[in-house]
Symmetry: C2
Subunit: 291 residues, 2 copies
């Protein structure tokens, strides 16, 4: 039995899928291949302990930390690496442009009918440091190509066209814009701390479309005013309504919408279709995190 | 005498320029080559009648309609075609992304600390119709290349890679996003009227980074709710504080900031430096509008 959330099943157009979006577990007890609902709560993962025949859990997200604790022994866990690259990289550009060109301030001035004409920053001629050479970093670099800006990409290790992580400290003072596009793991948790931010030039913009835990919220708050921030992810998340970050100067916050767009369904449907076909034919699965 | 506004002279780094940013005309009576201040009032053009030796007026803008009525007979008028392409095309992308990804709504929700997570549109997979195959249209097309969207460009006449204006009516229902990037002239004034808008599909986005007079404001207001609008230029402009467009649903307005960014000075400085060199050496000037 192949168990898939309704909206993904609709986009897949493959016969014989069992649709499940939560609720009673009885109808999916025979599940062997399971796709949890996107943006669902813990129930979507804890249900796996009630699925005795389960062989594969195919996540609809690139992140997988939230599933690990619920994974029964012997079940293969695959993530959706690549599915959110287009949408997340696109949001990074949206946040960069909105903050530089002050679209956020303009939107807030609109209800008052304020026509504030000033000279603002353009992305053209700027120096962009992309931290992360994976799918999102590459998708972002492709999108930045037409904008007449200079882009340097940093990966785990230096290679052709990619600088190594050990060079970050010396690259930070060079950049006008720093984009965080690394996965959250022990090597990146808290990476953006007071020292990191202190190396950024006055007025520079930090964009985080990765995970809130990569950047230290208190350290960012302390630099508001000198630096700018555009954050799709925060720590804590969701950010409480009374959190100072919502109202700090030069800060633009989007509510973790990097991946959740119209670009999601066609791309996740393609991945799940391919994975189901591999699994049915006995071919090796892609994106295996735990096997 | 070569008369240049202060900020452009600073960026040019050429000796022997006379700086003038308005005020007393006496110091520039000997002007032969004159660059009006950027975003200045009518005084910057009417002053030309007081410059008996004037040979060349080099505008800092692509638009030139505002200078024509003040141009003394025999003076060559050049515009700054190309200087604003990067900045204006960049704003078009900023407005598209901000509206599709709802960065405007998010910015307005920030002061209330509202974390509104919904699925919004991505630019990926969308169909973009660019009206205008000139500098801005080309700069926009280059910027859209990395975004996994489909782009069709319309020029005055059909040619390789460009569709002709007579095809607009049949292309409008195809497009998710329509960007206006044509100059204002008798053939484009009021081009975006009720018929034009009626052909656009439900939910489609019209972006105007050209001139307000190209789109009929009343016709746009009548379609608010069914269509979305992102407008850097309006008619009238500036839009009065009590104008309904400021508060209409699905409308994002930026205050004519397409060209006025940090990208302006290096590019106008390069153009004026080249034009002065041509004029001094007797070579033909570029961007001649009236000679």
């Amino acid at each position: 039995m192949i168990v898939v959330p309704g909206e993904i099943a609709d986009a897949m157009d493959v016969p014989g899928l069992t649709i499940w979006d939560g609720g009673d577990v009885a109808p999916i007890r025979e599940a062997r291949f399971y796709v949890p609902s996107y943006m669902a709560g813990e129930w979507a993962f804890s249900v796996m302990t009630d699925l005795p025949l389960l062989e594969v859990c195919q996540l609809p997200t690139a992140g997988f930390e939230h599933a690990l604790g619920h994974l029964p022994v012997g079940v293969t866990l695959c993530n959706a690496a690549g599915v959110h690259d287009a949408s997340t990289a696109e949001l990074a550009v949206a946040l960069i442009l909105a903050r530089l060109r002050r679209v956020d301030d303009m939107a807030r001035a609109m209800p008052r009918g304020e026509f504030i004409h000033e000279r603002f920053d353009a992305l053209a001629d700027k120096r962009v440091l992309v931290l992360g050479a994976g799918g999102i970093g590459q998708a972002l670099t492709r999108r930045l190509e037409g904008f007449e800006c200079e882009v340097v990409v940093v990966g785990r290790a230096a290679r052709e066209g990619v600088r190594g992580r050990e060079e970050i400290a010396e690259l930070l003072p060079w950049a006008d814009i720093v984009v965080i596009a690394v996965p959250l793991d022990d090597s990146t948790r808290g990476m953006v701390d007071a020292d990191f931010l202190a190396r950024m030039r006055d007025g520079a913009l930090l964009v985080n479309v990765a995970r809130g835990g990569i950047a230290d919220t208190a350290a960012m708050l302390a630099e508001c005013g000198r630096l700018q921030f555009a954050l799709d992810v925060t720590d804590p998340e969701p950010l409480p309504a009374d959190h100072a970050l919502w109202r700090a100067p030069g800060v633009l916050i989007s509510p973790h919408v990097g991946g959740n767009t119209t670009a999601f369904l066609p791309r996740i449907a393609r991945l799940v279709r391919d994975q189901v076909a591999r699994w049915q034919s006995g071919a090796p699965l892609a994106n295996v995190i735990v096997s």
